[in-house]
């Protein structure tokens, strides 16, 4: 009896979490008139009009493509650099290791707002304003501390005996990294890549400040600019939001096991 109550409560909570998302997805298929009148219709004739307007008429696909390019590029770079650094921190013993690790982690604590200004000025100085390159650089810098921190935890779980065995067998450190640590930390790499992907795909502030047109602007900024207009069509907006949310939600279902491990690795390791 008691557990039935708990299950019921959990179902209610699950519905609360899912409902707003599902509602918006449903709204993207509703006629605007049906959408803006009460009572809300549960059964209705779906329409693809909003998607047509969004993708074809307003040509917003370019923003999603920008998001994709910037995200994939920065994730690849971050995992590459971060795994090397995490290896340098986890596989060795040396005096400055803990303070180095802590310094890198503390960079994550910097409030993004405070970093926007210097980044903005630096990007302007480099002549990279409104380019995808600028975004890739910025996101790499931002994801590095977190990535190194998480991967350091995963690499730390690799038994030192394996490293020593590989060294005795004549591997240099790069090969130890490549043949021992990387394969064993598959889940960790997936987790880290997932977080970086989601964070970068969803990032807003830096994209807002550093881009101004479709040459480099990413999806969240485009959605926000539509929201600011008066007289917005909620159906179109719902369609844009659904398209933006779809990749990451699907992604979540695929990699959620790894993501949970990554989250808890970062938090429980302390």
């Amino acid at each position: 009896m008691e557990s039935a109550l708990i299950y019921f409560g959990l179902v209610v909570i699950a519905v609360l979490f899912l409902f707003p998302v599902l509602f918006t997805v449903q709204a993207s298929f509703k006629n605007t008139i049906e959408l803006t009148t009460l009572p809300p219709k549960i059964f209705f004739a779906p329409t693809l009009r909003h998607y047509w307007i969004t993708i074809v008429q307003n040509a917003t696909l370019v923003y999603y493509i920008n998001s994709l390019v910037v995200t994939v590029a920065s994730v690849i770079i971050v995992v590459f650099l971060g795994s090397l650094a995490a290896f340098g921190l986890a596989a060795f013993q040396y005096r400055s290791r803990d303070s180095l690790s802590f310094t890198i982690l503390s960079m994550r604590m910097l409030p993004r707002i405070c970093v926007v200004l210097p980044f903005f000025l630096l990007i302007v100085k480099l002549g990279l304003l409104n380019t995808k390159t600028a975004l890739i650089i910025v996101y790499t810098v931002f994801n590095l501390p977190f990535t190194i921190y998480i991967l350091e935890g995963f690499f730390g779980e690799v038994p030192k005996e394996l490293r020593d065995a590989a060294l005795i067998d004549g591997c240099n450190y790069l090969e130890v990294f490549r043949r021992v640590y990387l394969p064993l930390s598959g889940p960790g790499l997936v987790a880290t890549a997932s977080f970086c992907f989601i964070f970068t795909w969803n990032e807003f502030l830096f994209a807002l400040v550093l881009t101004s047109n479709e040459r480099a602007m990413t999806a969240p900024v485009e959605i926000a600019s539509v929201v600011s207009l008066y007289g917005v069509d909620w159906g179109d907006l719902s369609a844009m939001a659904t398209i933006a949310a779809l990749p990451v939600v699907l992604f979540l279902f695929v990699v959620q096991r790894y993501m949970v491990r990554g989250l808890t690795m970062g938090a429980l390791k302390g």
Partner: protein
């Protein structure tokens, strides 16, 4: 160990370190220098001019800045407490059941994966005073007289934003606390039951003390993100109505990218930076103990 072997770990770390330093330290130095200057970006012909500590003096007298700090703290207080209590509670429930745990966890994680802007869009639709589902739902319960302008009413707007954030990030707390609960040892609970301890006593005297580090880290991680909160508020109210939801991030954004007052922005950024670093150091000391 010879010098070459000792240098190897640094070889691996250096590329990342260089990137972080180049794009972290240099801009920081530039900001410090800028905070002592006056530079209005909407007059591009006038170069930055020295201003001594004028920016810092202005900062201390700036009531909007002070209010934005207060708003941020209130926002953090409400949201963090709610997320923590709800998240911990749900994690306790999840820890008890046997089936469907992973399914529920995955479903709950969906809001977390959304962009803050997407969450803002979703909730703006729900909060709409005329055809939003929230008002409709409460009208069904309390009659047609019920009407709340969730995002437009100065008394309610901040709470509305808190609700959205709670909806989006409680799963984060749930996931971490659940993992922590599942790694707790079983024996203390068994002896407690033998000793006749009630469920509540087990919670207060066993669970919470053993989970201390996890709890503190969760609070730290969420706290840091909440100080940074910007996207959601930008998308939902842009600080309105009448600056009631203007958190620090939003005010700084307006100074820099609406008023283009760069020197002053630099000074503000430094203040906030120092403030956050101090708080972070305190919290980390707490955790390490």
């Amino acid at each position: 160990m010879n010098t070459r072997t000792r240098a190897i770990p640094f070889l691996f770390v250096t590329p990342s370190l260089l990137v972080l330093l180049a794009f972290g330290i240099y801009p920081l130095i530039y900001t410090i220098r800028l905070s002592f200057q006056t530079w209005l970006l909407f007059r591009p012909n006038i170069p930055p001019s020295p201003a001594g500590v004028a920016n810092f003096g202005r900062l201390l007298a700036d009531s909007q800045f002070g209010k934005s700090i207060l708003t941020t703290l209130v926002f953090m207080g409400i949201t963090l407490s709610a997320e923590f209590v709800l998240g911990f509670g749900v994690a306790l429930l999840l820890n008890v059941i046997v089936k469907w745990r992973k399914v529920f966890r995955t479903v709950a994680m969906v809001p977390m994966t959304l962009s803050a802007i997407v969450a803002a869009v979703i909730w703006r639709l729900l909060y709409n005073p005329d055809f939003g589902l929230l008002n409709y739902f409460f009208q069904l319960l309390f009659g047609k007289r019920f009407f709340v302008n969730w995002l437009g009413d100065p008394h309610v707007a901040l709470i509305s934003i808190c609700i959205t954030d709670i909806w989006q990030w409680t799963p984060f707390v749930i996931v971490i606390v659940l993992a922590g609960l599942q790694s707790l040892p079983v024996e203390p609970y068994e002896s407690a039951v033998v000793d006749g301890a009630s469920g509540l006593q087990r919670l207060v005297y066993l669970t919470i003390p053993m989970m201390r580090t996890t709890i503190l880290i969760t609070l730290l991680l969420r706290g840091m993100d909440l100080i940074n909160e910007f996207d959601k508020i930008f998308g939902m109210t842009f600080g309105g109505p009448g600056y009631k939801t203007q958190v620090v991030g939003l005010y700084l954004y307006r100074v820099g990218f609406r008023f283009y007052d760069m020197g002053y922005l630099a000074a503000l950024c430094l203040m906030v930076l120092i403030f956050v670093m101090v708080i972070t150091q305190i919290l980390i000391r707490l955790i390490r103990r």
